[in-house]
């Protein structure tokens, strides 16, 4: 067979097929990937230091970031990465659960294959199991949680806590209240339209987390251009094209014919700029925001008319600024119409931790942008805090759509494990083994949580099973003292939708990996690899 294949393809291709070569190898690769992320699962998860190809250092336990920067090459492992990315995009949290669970499923599949099951039987078993899981998950939803007030801080925090705690354990209370404040502030009338882009994060080195705050409005990391540094209750005019004398795009030369023309040439230009700036000042605007360069002459007149000048070069930032202030961006420097002017409560330049920032505040009528100002001692801490905030904000978005919650702290997983196991006994075919393994795979979560917290995993799992068997379906692990406890007393809740998608994507990814029985890799383009390592060196 190999011979035929070889004669068919160009020399240098790789071709792998069959159970041993393809399926088991694929499973092995996925397992390796999940062992990397697994230790980061849960509140006591460890951080990873990842140095990416651009030499940037990440210190994080956010699985989405880790796998993103890892540059996974193995084709099968890439499927897992894609599943986690799908989860990250859909929900914005729970990426680690996806990878770790998929890895666990595949490990179980390997055992089944060694037992003699065919991958297709495993797949059908897994598919049945995941459908059952979805059903059970719906039953496990905490009663009364489907109705929530997304503007109630308490309710928001209770749903967000677990997601944030898994990133920044011990600091979740501070962070959650910051995130909740910011989210509630920008939440539109119809919460489904909540846009994550409206919660900004400004990272400023120095101080500590307790110095962090939420600013209603924006924080720009630039200084004001002119000498006006503070203004209150002002109208804003936004110009995209820069505040300067208009110059022609085409290269041209002004021809001067007489002495007067020469003398008047610069005067007319000056007069023109003054006229324009005066027009803006007359319209009532007190702040000019420019999307491009601010000419010296224009600045001179802005100072004369006591206008504050800000420069925002990023187009996205400018758009957000317009959203915050409710102004319409004008292309050219001209007299703005009253409708085009925006309004700010205050614009001020402040020094925070050695950096000068411009704080644009707008507190009236449900402003649309809020900024979480994060403080921390190093860049990597700040980056990690930012990821935690991102996850929190994404969770908020998810709960705006579907606010149902399930017990966290591995309580749901143990219950799922128990019920899916029961379900497997009712099946008659060979796939009951696959379903049983699927159920066992849920144990991975309490096991990892316990292991990462330095507890005895076996003890915990067995006592969890005992509790659940006696009907306490909401008993999970309390990591602080290391015992089993009812989650409703600990207030650890996960969003139903996060768990649902994570488990679904994980099962899908596992099935996809199992379906593959041949890998054909064509010869990589280009010349010979420069950094070919010695064979056998790269397995460790």
């Amino acid at each position: 067979m190999g011979f035929g294949m070889q004669s068919m393809l160009k020399e240098g291709h790789k071709h792998l097929s069959g159970l041993d070569e393809a399926v088991l190898k694929n499973i092995d690769a996925c397992k390796q990937l999940s062992t990397i992320t697994r230790t980061s699962l849960g509140p006591n998860g460890m951080n990873k230091m990842v140095i990416n190809h651009l030499d940037k250092l990440f210190v994080t336990n956010d699985a989405a970031t880790i796998v993103n920067e890892l540059e996974v090459q193995h084709p099968a492992a890439k499927i897992l990465v894609l599943a986690s990315k799908a989860q990250q995009e859909e929900i914005g949290d729970g990426a680690n659960l996806t990878i770790s669970f998929a890895g666990e499923l595949l490990q179980a599949a390997e055992e089944l294959i060694r037992m003699g099951l065919h991958p297709s039987e495993i797949i059908s078993g897994y598919t049945k199991a995941v459908n059952k899981t979805v059903e059970i998950l719906d039953e496990l939803v905490e009663e009364g949680s489907e109705n929530m007030d997304v503007r109630d801080k308490e309710q928001v925090i209770s749903r967000m806590r677990a997601a944030v705690a898994s990133k920044q354990f011990g600091q979740e209370d501070t962070l959650c209240s910051l995130i909740a404040d910011a989210c509630i502030q920008v939440c539109p009338k119809n919460p489904v339209n909540f846009n994550v882009d409206n919660v900004r994060v400004a990272k400023l080195v120095g101080g500590g987390l307790h110095n962090s705050a939420v600013v209603p409005g924006m924080v720009l990391r630039t200084d004001a251009v002119g000498t006006m540094k503070y203004i209150e209750k002002a109208k804003v005019a936004v110009f995209v094209g820069g505040v300067d004398t208009s110059a022609t795009e085409t290269k041209g030369t002004v021809l001067i014919h007489s002495a007067e023309q020469l003398e008047n040439y610069s005067k007319t230009e000056e007069a023109k700029v003054e006229e324009l700036i005066k027009a803006v000042a007359d319209s009532g605007a007190k702040v000019i925001v420019s999307g491009a360069a601010v000419g010296e002459m224009a600045l001179h007149f802005c100072e004369r008319y006591k206008l504050m000048v800000l420069k925002i070069s990023s187009k996205f930032e400018l758009r957000r600024f317009c959203r915050t202030t409710g102004s319409v961006a004008m292309l050219k420097l001209c007299q703005p119409k009253p409708d085009d002017l925006g309004y700010v409560d205050s614009v001020s330049v402040e020094e925070i931790g050695g950096a000068r920032v411009t704080i644009v505040k707008n507190e009236v009528d449900g402003n649309s942008v809020a900024t979480v100002v994060l403080r921390g001692s190093t860049d990597s801490i700040l980056d990690d805090l930012e990821r935690a905030v991102d996850d929190g904000v994404n969770t908020y978005k998810a709960m705006c759509r579907d606010s149902r919650i399930v017990p966290g702290a591995a309580a749901t997983e143990i219950e799922l494990a128990k019920r899916v196991k029961d379900f497997s006994f009712q099946e008659t075919g060979l796939d009951q083994y696959a379903i049983a393994k699927f159920a066992e795979s849920f144990e991975m979560i309490p096991r990892t949580l316990a292991e990462n917290a330095g507890l005895n995993a076996m003890e915990i799992i067995s006592s969890l099973y005992a509790e659940h068997a006696s009907g306490n379906t909401k008993v999970g692990i309390d990591l602080e003292p290391g015992v089993c406890k009812d989650v409703s007393t600990m207030r650890v809740w996960d969003l139903h939708v996060t768990k649902l998608f994570a488990l679904k994507y994980a099962a899908d990814a596992a099935c996809t990996v199992l379906r593959v029985d041949q890998i054909i890799m064509s010869k990589p383009a280009g010349g010979p690899r420069r950094d070919q390592p010695a064979p056998g060196m790269d397995e460790d």
Binding site: L16, E21, K25, D28, A29, I36, T39, N44, M46, N47, K48, M49, V50, I51, H53, L54, D55, L57, L70, E71, V72, Q73, H74, F169, G170, V205, G206, G207, G208, T227, G252, T253, L255, I256, H257, S258, A259, E260, L262, E263, S266, E270, E296, M297, H300, R304, G353, A355, G376, S377, T378, I381, N452, A453, G454, R529, D531, P535, G536, D538
Partner: protein, 561 residues
């Protein structure tokens, strides 16, 4: 080919370097302690300076932790975190950079035996965080407020803070002299929080005592054309015009061109050009200004013109200086000479040009808005003045923070000993593993007084025991006792005016704990090979950097033995 058919599982790109687990954690800790060993000896009044010679051949002598860390060019990813916290301390409070690095490394060093014994690092982290918040609360409790004092009293109090910072620096010998200078400068700029309004000018020559404070702005005389000699060099209450205009005979615009059909018109064009410049000069004179400064060039024609009319002018003034003059004198920088109203002119009590060393200086004294101050530093060698500037920067930051937050604590290791005692006491009330961890945290805090003693050549164990005894007194009267550098014993730091702003300590402990927790929480490092684009530029530095990194580790190991 057969080996190709049975490949190892290549999960990650070739050349990717992964390391994980406990050894990884221990090696990170080792790297951090090695880095801290470098700055360790710079702590305190008797700390030694470091001479750093970089690959470009420039030499820096410094005692400032942040400066040293920045120049060290550390490549180890974990040790880089220490550099970051030093920078963060520098930008947030300005001083205490050595302290923060030392504390972080000491926390890690204390954690190492636990890690080796198999304690899960999350347990350590949790205890460290608790200890950190306890320590910060204790500092806040112990801090003494200087709020509500009269300005004179406040001045002396702030002076003490500045003196404490300066005593650990190269210019420590003249600390009173500089401390009062720094306090005056900071009070001059007032509550408006703008550091760039304090200028520091360096003039080699003379000695430190020749340094002086200008209540206004001073800058080095700019390049001048002929005619400058005739200009008056001293004014009382002059009006000052600040320009962003070129006063030179020059083509008006780049894109203008003159075409003449009638050659007789040629003279008129030439005249017109002269008219333009004369017109500008006239307008400057008419404004009534006696001092004209411009960011752009002032040519020889203009220089002569002004000299004839008893006006002082200076062209090509650095933008920073010009802004400072604007803020000090209350003027605004003009981009056009048309329509100069009185409002935009500034003024000051005395303007003069003075000889300082072998440089001429333009000095604006007694400015009305008084938001600026300039310190003119004198001293022997270049490196000496550089270091003096850094020291003054630290002192200025300290005084600013002290003014803003207005609480101080006892220095000289007193506050560290007191927190350490408090934490030990607190630890006894805890059951379980975290008692040990908080104890070790408390022990790590003692590194500050211990290092102070070591650097001064005292018997650290002896002094520390005395301190412990004092701090353990149940009455609590021993709380302000710290190391006495003068006698080698212990003394009441508070009574001896060894003071530090509380915010420095709070930030240092916070940042050090955060960094230590971050290092402890890492159990795996994955290093991807550099991509093509990054490879080119980084290749050279990576080679040098790696060599140096290797040397580091080797040295660290040798020192710890």
């Amino acid at each position: 080919m057969s080996s190709m058919l049975q490949p190892q599982i290549i999960l990650l790109k070739e050349g990717t370097d992964t390391s994980q687990g406990k050894p990884q954690l221990v090696s990170n800790i080792n790297a951090c302690t090695a880095v801290a060993d470098v700055v360790r000896t710079t702590l305190g009044p008797r700390g030694m300076d470091k001479l750093i010679h970089d690959d470009k051949g420039s030499v820096t002598i410094s005692n400032d932790g942040a400066t040293i860390m920045k120049l060290l060019d550390i490549v180890h990813p974990a040790a880089k975190i220490l550099v970051d916290i030093a920078k963060s301390q520098d930008s947030e409070v300005g001083d205490g950079t050595t302290t923060v690095v030392l504390l972080a490394a000491e926390f890690l060093r204390e954690a190492k035996p636990f890690i080796e014994d198999g304690v899960h690092s999350q347990n350590l982290i949790r205890s460290y965080r608790t200890a950190c918040s306890l320590a910060i609360e204790k500092i806040k409790e112990l801090a003494v407020s200087i709020e509500g004092k009269s300005i004179e009293e406040k001045k002396t109090l702030l002076g003490k803070c500045a003196a404490t910072t300066l005593s650990s620096k190269l210019i420590g010998g003249e600390k009173e002299f500089f401390a009062s200078m720094v306090v005056d400068a900071v009070i001059a700029i007032g509550t408006d929080d703008r550091l760039n309004m304090i200028g520091i000018k360096k003039v080699p020559g003379g000695n430190m005592r020749d340094s002086f404070l200008v209540n206004g702005v001073a800058f080095k005389k700019t390049f001048s054309y002929a005619g400058f000699e005739q200009q008056p060099k001293k004014f009382l209450n002059p009006k000052i015009l600040l320009l962003n205009v070129e006063l030179e005979l020059k083509s008006e615009k780049e894109n203008a061109e003159i075409r003449l059909s009638d050659p007789s018109q040629y003279q008129s064009i030439v005249d017109a050009e002269w008219n333009i410049i004369y017109d500008k000069l006239d307008k400057c004179v008419q404004s009534g200004a006696k001092v004209v400064l411009s960011r752009l060039a002032i040519g020889d024609l203009a220089t002569q013109y002004f000299a004839d009319r008893d006006i002082f002018c200076a062209g090509r003034v650095a933008e920073e200086d010009l802004k400072r003059v604007a803020a000090a004198t209350g003027g605004t920088v003009q981009t056009s000479v048309n329509n100069i109203i009185d409002e935009v002119l500034g003024t000051c009590e005395i303007f003069e040009e003075k000889q300082v060393g072998n440089e001429r200086f333009n000095i604006f004294n007694g400015c009305p808005s008084g938001q600026t101050a300039t310190i003119v530093l004198r001293g022997g060698a270049d490196q000496f003045i550089e270091e003096a500037e850094r020291s003054l920067h630290d002192a200025i930051m300290i005084v600013r923070r002290a003014m803003k937050n207005s609480t101080v604590v006892a220095g000289g290791g007193a506050i560290d000993m007191e927190i350490s005692r408090y934490l030990r006491q607190h630890a006894r009330t805890i059951a379980g593993k975290s008692q040990l961890f908080i104890n070790s945290y408390a022990k790590a805090l003692e590194v500050i007084p211990r290092q102070l003693c070591d650097n001064a050549g005292f018997d650290a164990t002896d002094v520390l025991n005395k301190l412990r005894q004092k701090h353990a007194l149940p009455s609590g009267e021993g709380a302000p006792y710290g190391v006495d550098i003068a006698t080698g014993g212990i003394a009441d730091s508070f009574a001896n005016f060894v003071w530090e702003p509380a915010v420095v300590k709070i930030n240092a402990i916070n940042a050090a704990t955060e960094a230590a927790c971050l290092v402890l929480s890492v159990d795996e490092t994955v290093k991807n090979p550099k991509s093509e684009s990054a490879q080119g530029e980084a290749a050279a530095s990576a080679m040098g950097g790696r060599g140096r990194g290797g040397g580091f580790r080797g040295r660290g190991r040798g020192m710890r033995r």
